[in-house]
C-alpha cells in the first residue's frame, strides 16, 4: 500500500464523515465548517488525480468565496441552534431510507460495470496543468466560456435586483 493509497483512503473517509456531519449537525455554522472540510478533502482528491488547477480553483471558489458567502448570510440572519426548524421524526427516517436506497441501487447497478481501464496511476500525465487546460479552453470551448461570463453578469444583475426591493 503506497502513500497515494493511504492518502486516498484517508481523504475519502474524511470527506464522507464530514459530509454526514454537515447533514446531521444542529448548528448551521458547524455545518458550514464541516462543509469546508469536505471541500478541502475533495481538493486533495483532485491533486491525487492530477488535476492541480481544479484543486486550486476548488479551494479558492468553494472553500473561500462560497463558504464566506454562507457565513455572511448566517451572521445577517443571526441564526443559532435554537431557531432551527424541526421536522418530525418520520420525515427524517424517510429521508435517510430514501438516500440509503438510492445508494444501494447505484452501487448494485455499477458493481458490474467494466472497470478494467481504471488503473488510474497517480503522478503521471499533465492534462491538469493550467497551460494545457487554458489552451483547450480558449480554442475549443470559447463559446461556452463567453456564455458563462454572460451568465455571471446576469446573475450579478439578478442578485442586485432581488436584494434591492424590500
Amino acid at each position: 500500500m503506497g502513500i497515494t493509497q493511504v492518502l486516498f483512503w484517508f481523504l475519502s473517509i474524511l470527506a464522507i464523515l464530514s459530509a454526514i456531519l454537515v447533514v446531521v449537525s444542529k448548528n448551521p455554522v458547524h455545518s458550514v465548517l464541516w462543509l469546508i472540510v469536505v471541500f478541502v478533502a475533495i481538493s486533495g482528491h483532485y491533486i491525487l488525480l492530477d488535476a492541480q488547477f481544479l484543486a486550486i480553483v476548488n479551494l479558492i471558489v468553494y472553500a473561500g468565496a462560497i463558504m464566506v458567502l454562507f457565513l455572511f448570510v448566517f451572521m445577517l440572519m443571526n441564526l443559532n441552534a435554537d431557531t432551527e426548524p424541526q421536522k418530525n421524526r418520520w420525515l427524517k427516517i424517510a429521508g435517510v431510507v430514501t438516500g440509503g436506497a438510492l445508494l444501494l441501487v447505484l452501487v448494485a447497478a455499477l458493481k458490474k460495470a467494466d472497470m478494467k481501464a481504471q488503473l488510474a496511476e497517480m503522478g503521471h500525465g499533465n492534462i491538469g496543468l493550467i497551460h494545457n487546460l487554458g489552451a483547450v479552453l480558449f480554442s475549443d470551448y470559447v463559446v461556452p466560456f463567453e456564455l458563462s461570463s454572460a451568465l455571471f453578469l446576469s446573475a450579478m444583475v439578478g442578485v442586485v435586483v432581488i436584494g434591492k426591493k424590500d
Binding site: V32, L35, M77, V107, Q118, A120, G125, P144, F152, A155
Partner: protein, 101 residues
Amino acid sequence: MSIALFCIGVAGVLTRRNAIIIFMCIELMLNAVNLLLVAFSKMHYHALAATNPNAGIDGQLFVFFIMVVAAAEVSVGLAIIVMMYRNTHSIDVNFLNRLKH
C-alpha cells in the same frame, strides 16, 4: 465514494427543513459529480493517452464550467433566501406552502 457523497446530499435535502442546509446539500451533490468527472477524465486519459495527448481534458473543463454555474447559482439562491427571511423572519421551507393558495 462519490456516490456516497451524492446520496448523503440527497438524504440531507430530504431530511432538513432549514433552507440553507438544503442549499449546502446541493453543493455537496455538485461536488460529488465534479469528483466523478475528474476521476473519469483520468481514466479516459490513461486509455487514450498514446494516441491523443489531450484525451480527458474535456472532463476537467466541464468541472470548471460546473463550478462557474454553481457559483452563480449560489449567489442568486442566497439572495432569494435573504429576501425570504426579510419577509417572513424564518428560514423554514414549509412556510412556502402558502405559495399554493
